[in-house]
């Protein structure tokens, strides 16, 4: 039972997430780049995707505020930072540049493994390398006495 509780909610969440990305055309980099092309041939589809997702999640957050524990877990494990820092902005800008170049962000890239594996594999490999590089170069060193 414990294994099923750990596996099933995230698995079903991933299934719904991948289905939603595909239905909305977000696994197509041209459609994503079309949204970012506001000075050219703008395609507003992504705004509808974000809008639909944010409305549902806004309801979910109000439900969450009345719950003590999640339905299938022992406790909520949520980000609690409130400070703005340079890393948040610089990191997001770097991500945005990569997003604009290829029209891919992490979710659609992983979902597209089922649709266009040869095309997204180099992106995913480089993305994991970039994550590792960030960890190696920027993560605080633990100083042992």
């Amino acid at each position: 039972m414990s294994f099923a509780r750990r596996l099933l909610p995230p698995l079903v969440s991933g299934l719904l997430f991948g289905a939603g990305l595909t239905v909305s055309g977000m696994t197509d980099p041209q459609r994503v780049r079309g949204f970012l092309d506001v000075f050219g041939d703008w395609d507003p589809t992504l705004a509808f995707v974000m809008g639909g997702a944010v409305i549902v999640m806004a309801v979910a957050w109000t439900i969450q505020s009345r719950m003590r524990t999640p339905m299938f877990g022992a406790k909520f494990s949520l980000p609690d930072r409130k400070d703005l820092d340079g890393r948040l902005i610089a990191g997001s800008v770097l991500f945005g540049i990569g997003w604009g170049i290829a029209g891919l962000c992490p979710g659609p890239a992983i979902a597209a493994l089922a649709l266009s594996p040869i095309s997204v594999l180099p992106f995913i490999g480089a993305m994991l390398a970039g994550m590792l590089l960030q960890k190696i170069t920027m993560e605080r060193k633990v100083i042992r006495p």
Binding site: P29, T45, F95, A114
Partner: protein, 144 residues
Amino acid sequence: MLPGFPDAQPVAGLVGGVLIGLAAALMLLGAGRIAGVSGILARGTGIARGDMAMTSAWGFIVGLPLGALAIRSGFDWEPATFASWPVLIVAGLLVGFGTRMGSGCTSGHGVCGVSRLSQRSIVATASFMAAGIATVFVLSLVGD
């Protein structure tokens, strides 16, 4: 469908967006976590530490392509066009480095954080949207 935007797919976009919202809601209310793809990917691959069980991280990761497959199977569909490998590699490095440095991507900040009215996520989302728009604009000037 949408006046002035013949290529836009507002209905498909909204339906897909609601599915993504339900996915994130299930992760929040069911598992008590943020459905942030970059963070869960880093956790699943061991790049980031965290208290999310590997079983949970990999369940979510494997679900993404299975969900895409479920939508596409049984229908005729045209494969999307992707950039060349060298371009994809440069973009992938930036996306990987940037999402870890900025603590999230379109799903964690853009969907989960913005809907929570998190100040950090709103700033992050505005930053990556602006950078994406600027990048596409600059690339269109140099002929893409």
